[in-house]
Amino acid sequence: MTIDAAYLLQLTLNGIALGLLYALIAVGLSLIFGVMEIINFAHGELLMLGAFAMTFALPVVGLLYWPALAASLFATMLAGFVIFEILLVRLKPDEFERSILITLGLSIILIHTVQYLFTATPRMVDTQYGFDGVAIGTIRLTWTRLIGAGAAIVAFTGLYLTLRFTQFGRAMRAIAQNREAALMVGIRPRTVARNAVILAAGLCGLAGSALAPIQLVTPYMGQFLIFKAFALVIIGGLGNIPGAVVAAVALGLVESWIGGFFTAAWQEGAVFVIMIVVLMLRPDGLFKRGGMRVG
């Protein structure tokens, strides 16, 4: 089999776009884990809510992309806030198993409520861009994909700058690195945890809204992605944000390449095989965690 350079490049670009979306989900998971030491099983459902918000917002604003995106981001951040205030705030540190079971219950409730209200029929949504795109030679990228990838890059830059240079972000890193010491210098874990959940929900909402015009929107869409995101945070090292980003983009590339040359079954299975191998070699993930690092 000869490998066509243009085809390979197309696969690579698709892979990067896919990987950046994975990264948005995985980073949110890592952020919540870093600050609260819990794993949010309902994270994929935030993505699903974002995608549903986008499907409902787009027709209202006359298919304009950006206002719909803003509305959907606001909706998911609000959902994150409500989830935190009602459920997560009651969790004490070191109640890891309980946190999993509670967020698992929440995920069941969200999926089936959405399915009950809006049925499981997959929805398609059109934007102002439709299927237009840019073509460079034989390579074609649709605007919706490009904007999704661009928004993800902007979001990561923003997240990096926030965590590194603002008081808001420093407090988060402080809590992640040493809870007691952070308490002693007057940082309130409750506020910081709330901010982290809202921020992570926003990132997830962004991923959901970016995905809505690209693939079918169903109540179950979050589940498929979240399991990959779990594997990614394990591969990258729990609570390690750059690790999660690197692992996510790499996975997007690997999946896209495998999907281009082998059958789809291998594409789906790749992440699990990689995870088992990484765990065998490095039980703490590829990039070992030492507090929550951003740079």
């Binding site: 219950g105 069941i108 409730i109 999926i111 009950y116 779990f230 394990i234 789906e268 699990f272 993930g285």
Partner: protein, 313 residues
């Protein structure tokens, strides 16, 4: 006392086919028995050894497929199928358990979960072995001593004998020195190490025994369904096992058994709407975690302790 009650309970359950001729009720009874066994196995892993394992779902599915394939593809009997289901799962659990148990408990939960999903993917995509989404229909009914167990009432005896045998075995295991060591590891691993006990073999053994029993239960259950397809690995089963263990009380042997019998009837009661049923399941799970984090058994234990403190005052 508890053992006498358990004995009476087992006898009462054995009498079910004499009390009713309704195949529906007997079907619910078979599900109750197999689900209780799977939940008791999860209780060994999560309640006693303290390992929250989502891999049970994968073992349940592997067990079902192993038993079905032994009979349909490799021409074995039902009994060999269930035996293979148990052995294969035990072996897989050792291979999967060793690397994942070395990680911390956070990573363990996630990697067992991804294992379960990997099994689902294999069941769906390895079409030449598992026949993919179509599944394997028309599983034959088991045979022994020239007798065909082809009616629900007859199959019920198999499920009953299987449940009684495995629960008795698990009880012996959990109340033995090994069971106590597992609880010690769960409560304080460094202290257990300091006592000269290496936790790894115990954890691995609990994981493998739990996997073998879950697999055998899956093998029995798929012959009750008469068909196996990838929906046998639906996350719904994992949720059912977990809810049984949590409501019963993690680490309480008889609490989980009682909850298994009681709660297996619940989905049937809630069957009026598929969607609402799952919503109610989710609400039960969340509410139970807030109201009774240690289950009914834990709640009773706490009440007894409070009463004793009051009496001493």
């Amino acid at each position: 006392m508890k053992l006498a009650l358990a004995f009476l309970g087992a006898l009462a359950f054995a009498a079910l086919p004499f009390l009713t001729s309704s195949n529906y009720i007997i079907g619910v009874g078979i599900s109750a028995l197999t689900f209780t066994v799977a939940a008791a196995a999860l209780n060994l892993v999560y309640g006693f050894a303290g390992l929250l394992s989502f891999a049970q779902l994968g073992f349940w599915g592997i067990g079902g497929y192993a038993a079905a394939l032994t009979v349909v593809t490799f021409g074995g009997t039902f009994w060999e199928g269930v035996l293979w289901a148990a052995l294969l799962n035990g072996a897989i659990a050792l291979v999967v358990g060793y690397p994942t148990l070395r990680t911390n408990r956070h990573a363990f939960v996630i990697s067992t979960l991804t294992f379960a999903l990997l099994v689902t993917l294999i069941a769906r995509d390895w079409v030449s072995l598992t026949r993919g989404p179509l599944g394997i229909p028309n599983l034959p009914s088991p045979e022994a001593f020239g007798q065909r167990f082809d009616t629900p009432a007859k199959f019920y005896w198999i499920a009953w004998a299987f449940a009684v045998a495995t629960i008795a075995f698990l009880y012996a295991l959990c109340s033995s020195r090994i069971g106590r060591t597992l609880v010690a590891i769960k409560q304080n691993e460094p202290l257990t190490r300091a006592q000269g006990i290496s936790p790894m073999p115990y954890k691995l053994a609990a994981f493998a025994v739990g996997a073998a029993i879950t697999g055998a239960a899956g093998g029995v259950y798929c012959f009750e369904l008469r068909i196996i397809d990838p929906t046998f690995l639906d996350f719904y089963y994992m949720q059912t096992f977990l809810i049984i263990v949590i409501i019963g009380g993690t680490g309480s042997f008889w609490g989980v058994i009682a909850a298994g019998i009681a709660l297996s009837a619940l989905p049937e009661v809630l069957r009026f709407s598929e969607d609402l049923r799952m919503i109610i399941y989710g609400v039960i799970l969340v509410a139970a975690m807030f109201v009774m984090p240690s289950g009914v058994a834990g709640w009773l234990r706490e009440r007894r302790l409070t009463a004793m403190r009051e009496a001493l005052r």
